[in-house]
């Protein structure tokens, strides 16, 4: 009953979001059919666009995993943003300043970026455990600190003085993650993301620590009475989540860029919130949710290029989805009538 209801509810939310965007396009566009065609089917028009969707879903998978894990443990740290950004900066530094063989270079960079991400991720958690600060507030503030620290590092030590804009020197070719399918942006990083999905799935559902995360997140009082060290859970989950986000920063930089040019924080962490909600904080469904979001975005990009509708329309679709998925009362009446009918059938 519950599973079926969740799916029906999800589909209804999708239908409403799609219907609403179609209405808006008809209201504002001179050529609504072109806009609609590109938005919903654009990515299928060419191999390149289709695999672009996979490539754009990579950072979303990483932040979706990170935030899903943190949410699962009942915490609301947004530090994944700083972890991902700093992971990118670390990658830039190592990709520019160190020389290594091609296979080893990216692996080492990924490990170091993950370690740095984990370290940063621990800060709001430690503050929460030892000083009872609210992790949401501290993480949002710290995001600024690490963002500007990253900008400073790149400008001072890594910047390309020849370039007209904010950009680092070029990365060594040894540090690039190669394309999986030539002629597209679909890169090896996707496999790393899937590996992270598998590992986190096992962590959450098959290990002792995963059990502790789920119990602490669902009912911290019960966790305490069961003898679970909830402080350890808070700190360790956020370290792991930070490491995943830091790794995501490294993969994104090495897979998609030749130089560091994130002058604005790419805000993948906020997309991670959307992914975490769509996936129900379950690592298994994260790639699917990330694919969906990336698909809509690539479609919206194509739409804005080929018609008179701006790609900000995506924000409306996202907002409607989140609203209906998180609104607990959405379709609750329907569910209850179904349940009442079913329950009363058996009665005399």
């Amino acid at each position: 009953m519950n599973k079926k209801f969740t799916i029906v509810r999800l589909l209804c939310a999708f239908a409403i979001a799609v219907a609403l965007s179609v209405c808006i396009i008809f209201a504002i566009s001179e050529d609504p059919l072109t806009a609609i065609y590109n938005l919903f089917l654009g990515p299928f028009q060419s191999k390149r666009h289709f695999f672009d969707v996979f490539a754009s879903s990579v950072p979303l998978i990483f932040t979706g995993l990170a935030l899903g894990l943190v949410f699962k443990s009942g915490n609301f740290s947004m530090i994944a943003d700083a972890c991902l950004y700093t992971g990118g900066v670390v990658t830039a530094a190592l990709a520019i300043k160190t020389a290594m063989p091609a296979g080893l270079h990216p692996i080492l960079i990924m490990l170091i970026a993950a370690a740095v991400g984990g370290l940063i991720g621990s800060i709001p958690a430690l503050l929460k455990v030892y000083f009872h600060t609210n992790e949401l507030v501290t993480s949002l503030m710290l995001n600024y600190v690490f963002f500007y620290f990253g900008i400073y590092t790149v400008t001072k030590y890594l910047a390309d003085r020849e370039a007209g804009t904010f950009a680092s020197l070029k990365y060594q070719p040894t540090a690039a993650l190669g394309a999986l399918i030539p002629g597209t942006k679909f890169h090896v990083g996707y496999l790393v993301a899937i590996l992270a999905v598998v590992l986190l799935y096992f962590l959450v559902f098959k290990t002792k620590f995963g059990y502790e995360i789920r119990i602490s997140g669902s009912n911290p009082q019960f966790a305490k009475y069961s003898g679970i060290n909830t402080s350890k859970v808070i700190i360790l989950t956020q370290v792991i989540a930070g490491a995943v986000a830091g790794l995501g920063g490294a993969v994104e930089q090495m897979g998609m860029y030749q130089r560091f040019n994130w002058q604005d924080s790419p805000s993948y962490a906020w997309d991670g919130v959307i992914i975490a909600i769509l996936s129900g904080n379950n690592p298994k469904t994260v790639p699917l949710a990330a694919f969906f979001l990336a698909y809509v975005r690539v479609g919206a990009d194509l739409m804005s290029r080929r018609s008179d509708v701006q790609n900000e329309l995506v924000s409306i679709i996202q907002a409607v989805l989140i609203l209906f998925i998180t609104a607990e009362r959405f379709m609750a009446g329907w569910k209850q009538r179904q349940e009442a009918k079913k329950a009363l059938e058996g009665e005399v």
Binding site: K206, K208, Y211, N219, F222, A223, K224, Y225, G227, K342
Partner: protein, 518 residues
């Protein structure tokens, strides 16, 4: 519509989210000026029905009439306006405010900007005298007893103009002496023309107080009767559908050596109020030690200090001769303490998670459930099904959420989990609170079975009947102290315990010292 019917519910059906049918075609007729009992076991749908009458829930189907007119309450404010008043099991009061302030809460005296406290106190005194419900208007609610808080709750309803009072198991928090006093006051209210609906599952109380009664079983009405028409046996058969006997069969047993003891536990909470005042006792093999007392007299703190979720300021806890005072919660469990907590949904389970997740919480880290270092879902499934079947839990599948089970079944799951890992000391804190008779019977039998296996049992319960029928020895707590030690349980009555619980009677220190064995 019959003569003098003041409140009527017709064909009421209520289905909760999740598909639980709490009421099915329930009918209820209340005559003006009577005390009408609503009886039924826990989970029969009494509270649900009352919540609908009081506007806190909307019926799925059916009609409600007040004074012959159909009403549709969408909030309890509507019910109050129609002359209903409800005295909940959990009092709706602000502890840091005075009695008078609480009384007027929601219908304040004075202007929009300023509450007229003097007027509030006058009103409190006036009402209190009129209905002979003595309260002190100026005292803070946090400083008064539960019985006093209950009086305040009744006064609150009267102040809001209620002439139909609904009392939801009002005697659950009272001593036998306080119960008698309450009954006198309720009779006075009836003489004053008020109508009272009295919810209870204690038949002797119903007999003593009420005119008529309606019996609910499994969400259905089993009829309305004059009190004099049925004897207790017939009532209980209508309530349960079969003859039940909650009498405990317990063999005489010699106690073995001391398994567990606490020495001089002292705990004061963050406000400096003493919750545990030099508590010492011990439990031997094969002994059930009962702790009686009015809720909130240190029992919860005592249990928490033993399981390790609360750190007492001084004192020590010993298990099998080892001082475990410095141990963590987990280490205490591993040393042999198991614990059924007083609130199964708050401390005893994670209601949104599956039965499996909730059943393995004591063994999830052991090799028992693992294959090659990872938790094996097949083993988890087997382990869960084994416990749930052994403890007769009614469930569809082990992947459903705990919140979908009834209270009795959740409690059986918790008890099963705690008993399974063969502890030396079992702490049972309110083990049968709010569950159906079948589950109560089952859990009590299991407790006695553990005694037969020579386990030590600490039983904390507000149900005096339960304490008296299960325990081998009884300690009574009052304001954080042990005030009574009873080793002759057979010749002790609920009234005897009541005197200790009220703080009227206290044993000598030497006698209470008898609770500590070598």
């Amino acid at each position: 519509m019959g003569q003098g019917i003041i409140l009527e519910a017709k064909n009421i059906t209520k289905v909760y989210p999740g598909g639980v049918v709490a009421n099915h075609n329930v009918n209820l007729e209340i005559r003006k000026g009577e005390v009408h009992a609503l009886v039924g076991e826990n989970g029969a749908g009494k509270s649900t029905l009352m919540k609908m009458l009081f506007g806190m829930l909307t019926p799925t189907e059916g009609q409600i009439f007040v004074d012959g007119k159909e009403v549709h309450f969408s909030a309890s404010g509507d019910a109050i306006a129609a002359g209903l008043g409800m005295i909940h099991q959990h009092f709706m009061q602000v502890p840091s405010m005075t009695v008078a302030e609480n009384l007027i809460l929601g219908a304040e005296t004075g202007t929009a900007l300023k509450v007229d406290r003097k007027k509030a106190e006058e009103i409190t005194k006036e009402l209190s005298e009129k209905y002979n419900l003595k309260v002190n208007a100026q005292e803070k609610v946090e400083d008064i007893s539960l019985a006093m808080r209950q009086k305040l709750e009744i006064l609150k309803a009267l102040y809001r103009g209620a002439h139909i009072l609904i009392l939801d198991e009002p005697t659950a928090v009272l001593t036998p002496q306080e119960t008698e006093e309450l009954f006198e006051q309720l009779k006075l209210l009836r003489e004053n023309g008020h109508t009272i609906i009295f919810i209870s599952h204690k038949l002797n109380e119903v007999k003593a107080l009420c005119n008529r009664m309606t019996i609910l079983r499994d969400g259905k009405t089993m009829g309305t009767y004059d009190i004099s028409d049925l004897d207790e046996k017939e009532i209980s058969r209508l309530m349960v559908g079969r003859d039940v006997s909650l009498a405990i069969e317990k063999e005489e047993e010699e106690f073995g050596k001391t398994v567990f003891s606490v020495k001089d536990l002292v705990y004061a909470d963050q406000f400096g109020k003493t919750r545990l005042d030099h508590v010492s006792f011990s439990i031997r093999e094969g002994e059930i030690l009962g702790i009686a007392g009015i809720d909130g007299n240190g029992q919860s703190e005592l249990v928490e200090a033993i399981v390790g979720t609360l750190k007492p300021q001084s004192g020590a806890v010993f298990l099998k001769g080892t001082d475990i005072s410095a141990y963590s919660v987990l280490k205490r469990q591993e040393s042999g303490i198991s614990h059924v907590s007083e609130d199964r949904m708050k401390y005893g389970t994670a209601p949104k998670l599956t039965l499996e997740d909730n059943t393995i919480s004591k063994v999830y880290y052991t090799d028992k459930l693992k294959t090659r270092g990872l938790i094996d879902s097949k083993k988890v499934n087997q382990f869960t099904n084994k416990i749930l079947e052994e403890f007769m839990v009614k469930y569809d599948n082990s992947k459903q959420a705990v919140s979908e089970l009834s209270g009795g079944n959740v409690q059986k799951l918790v008890v099963g989990r705690e008993f399974d890992y063969q502890p030396d000391l079992l702490i049972m804190n309110q083990p049968t609170r709010g569950i159906d008779v079948g589950a109560i019977e089952f859990i009590r039998k299991k407790i006695v079975e553990m005694r037969r296996q020579r386990k030590a049992v600490l039983l904390v319960s507000a149900d005096l009947g339960e304490v008296l029928s299960l325990s081998d020895t009884i300690l009574v707590m009052h304001e954080g102290r042990i005030v009574g030690y009873i080793d002759d349980v057979k010749n002790t009555s609920e009234n005897d315990l009541g005197l200790y619980m009220l703080g009227v009677k206290e044993d000598s220190r030497e006698r209470i010292g008898g609770a500590c064995h070598e």
